[in-house]
Amino acid sequence: MAQPGFDGIELVVHAMAQTSVDNETYFSDLDAVVGDGDFGYSLARGFEIVIATWDDIDRTDAATFLRKVAAIITSRVGGTSGPLWGTAFMRAGAVVAGSERIGADQAVAMLRAAIGGVKERGQSDVGDKTLLDALVPAVDELERAVDDGSDAAAAVGNAAATSCAAAEGTSSMLAKRGRAAYTGERSIGSPDAGAIGVAVMFETVARLWPQSQR
């Protein structure tokens, strides 16, 4: 049976999946401005399977659960999203293999591992106008809040607000990765779809978090 704190992981993963499915059109439209418009569609095809098979995903422990979610993502999500989001889930799962409980420290560690996976797989970093530009500031804020002793709800709320501001901020950036990068200067003026996706997911988690048992 999964370890204490596992329900937090379930909340986050389900929130990510539901957000992706609910925002399929919105995310694709964002991606169509200077890209090829597949972001929302690609992500939704994988996450809808996560939702459809939710009860059957192996919950032996958090690591196994996240690895199985990663496998669903890579089996169905194409484009760059499959490899990037799949690697993120894989790395997050690996970091909590053998963990006795899933608390704030593990949450930060999982997110850091996910960031590392995305950077490596995508050969990217903060400043390239990608999902990292929303995710990294959010995790920095989450870690800061956790270290300060904030309660979980407040920490998540702050991280969500940070990610939203950061995602909107990508509008002024020049794209250096993905299809938008081919458009050069024309990529300035619209936000990165991946960054907005991360921010909306954070918002969903923040909205749901205080309602949980934690």
Binding site: A32, D38, Y41, G78, G79, L84, G178, Y182, G184
Partner: protein
């Protein structure tokens, strides 16, 4: 779509729905390297309709304009694995490279011998540190045709890679759009293009290209494309070339031949001789009106490989 292709070619092709795969019914063939591709859908006939003897052994496309999930790449590689190895031909896009990198890694872990050729024939986008490099577009056809023909002759994997890279290195393309295109899932045009505008250097996934310009005459458009492509290698006086005028999906063939005529004349004026020509739809972008021009510098070996017979569902040469 794939079901239709398989139904239309029951003796030669096989459809594997789990991996969105069209493969030769007789693959793997132990006497040859298996050759596979797997870009996004939406470029037909590339690549599911050029699976067959003398060209691809398998194509496992992703959703429209999306690289396939890496599982499709892995499982397809396993299905067509031959004792002589598997060759992955990929267009140079981040998603395609990631999917094939990851799929290859996992397949090699199972002992399969794989090599990769990357196609990056598009001259439109500047090769800079900000992108993964130039895009692979219609020139992909020539890499597949040459390598496909050579593989039927039993050529070894390493030599096929060298050949594919050589063909890629003497192939240059650029396209332009008169309209956008409408992905089925979206149901509306991917980008806005005014009646009086055209997009020079357009990508094949609806991504904008080099420059938005005011609509010009066909001659002016062709001149610009030929100049961009010819000057890039550069193709020189005395060169023999293959010339492809590729329709992007929404342009009538009559117009493609109009383009061909002007391109041919422009090349002749430069002292460049067109030895082989390919006019039609080879690598489309759904229903986009527009075309691309591809030049390949020929020699006797390449010409023979292009002339070698092939048997694919979509006869385009």
């Amino acid at each position: 779509m794939l079901q239709g292709i398989a139904l239309a070619n029951p003796d030669t092709l096989k459809y594997v729905p789990e991996y969105n795969l069209i493969m030769r019914a007789d693959a793997p063939n132990e006497q040859k390297v298996s050759i596979m591709q797997g870009s996004g859908s939406g470029h037909e006939p590339a690549h599911v309709m050029i699976v067959g003897k003398g060209m691809l052994d398998a194509a496992c496309p992703g959703d429209v304009f999306s690289a396939p999930p890496m599982d499709y790449v892995l499982e397809t590689t396993k299905l067509v694995n031959s004792p002589k190895g598997v060759l992955h031909i990929i267009n140079n896009y981040t998603g395609d490279r990631m999917a094939f990198d990851m799929g290859r890694e996992m397949a090699e872990a199972e002992g399969i011998v794989i090599a990769t050729v990357i196609v990056d024939d598009d001259v439109a986008v500047k090769d800079s540190t900000w992108t993964v490099g130039r895009r692979g577009v219609a020139g992909n056809f020539f890499v597949i045709k040459s390598v496909g023909a050579a593989s039927e002759q039993g050529t070894e994997l390493a030599d096929l890679v060298a050949l594919g890279e050589r063909v890629n290195s003497v192939t240059r393309s650029m396209g332009m759009a008169l309209t956008s295109c409408t992905p089925p899932a979206k149901g509306s045009p991917l980008f806005e293009l005014g009646d009086n505008e055209m997009e020079m250097g357009v990508g094949i996934h609806g991504e904008p290209g080099r420059k938005r310009e005011a609509l010009a005459s066909a001659n002016e458009i062709v001149d610009e494309l030929v100049e961009a492509v010819a000057s890039d290698l550069p193709f020189k006086k005395g060169d023999d070339v293959a010339l492809m005028v590729n329709g992007l999906g929404g342009t009538p063939i009559s117009e493609l031949y109009l383009v061909y005529g002007r391109a041919h004349a422009q090349l002749a004026a430069r002292g460049i001789t067109v030895r082989r020509n390919y006019v039609g739809e080879y690598c489309t972008s759904l229903d986009m009106a527009g075309c691309s021009i591809t030049l390949v510098r020929l020699d006797d070996e390449l010409t023979a490989l292009l002339d070698a017979p092939a048997q694919i569902p979509n006869r385009i040469f």
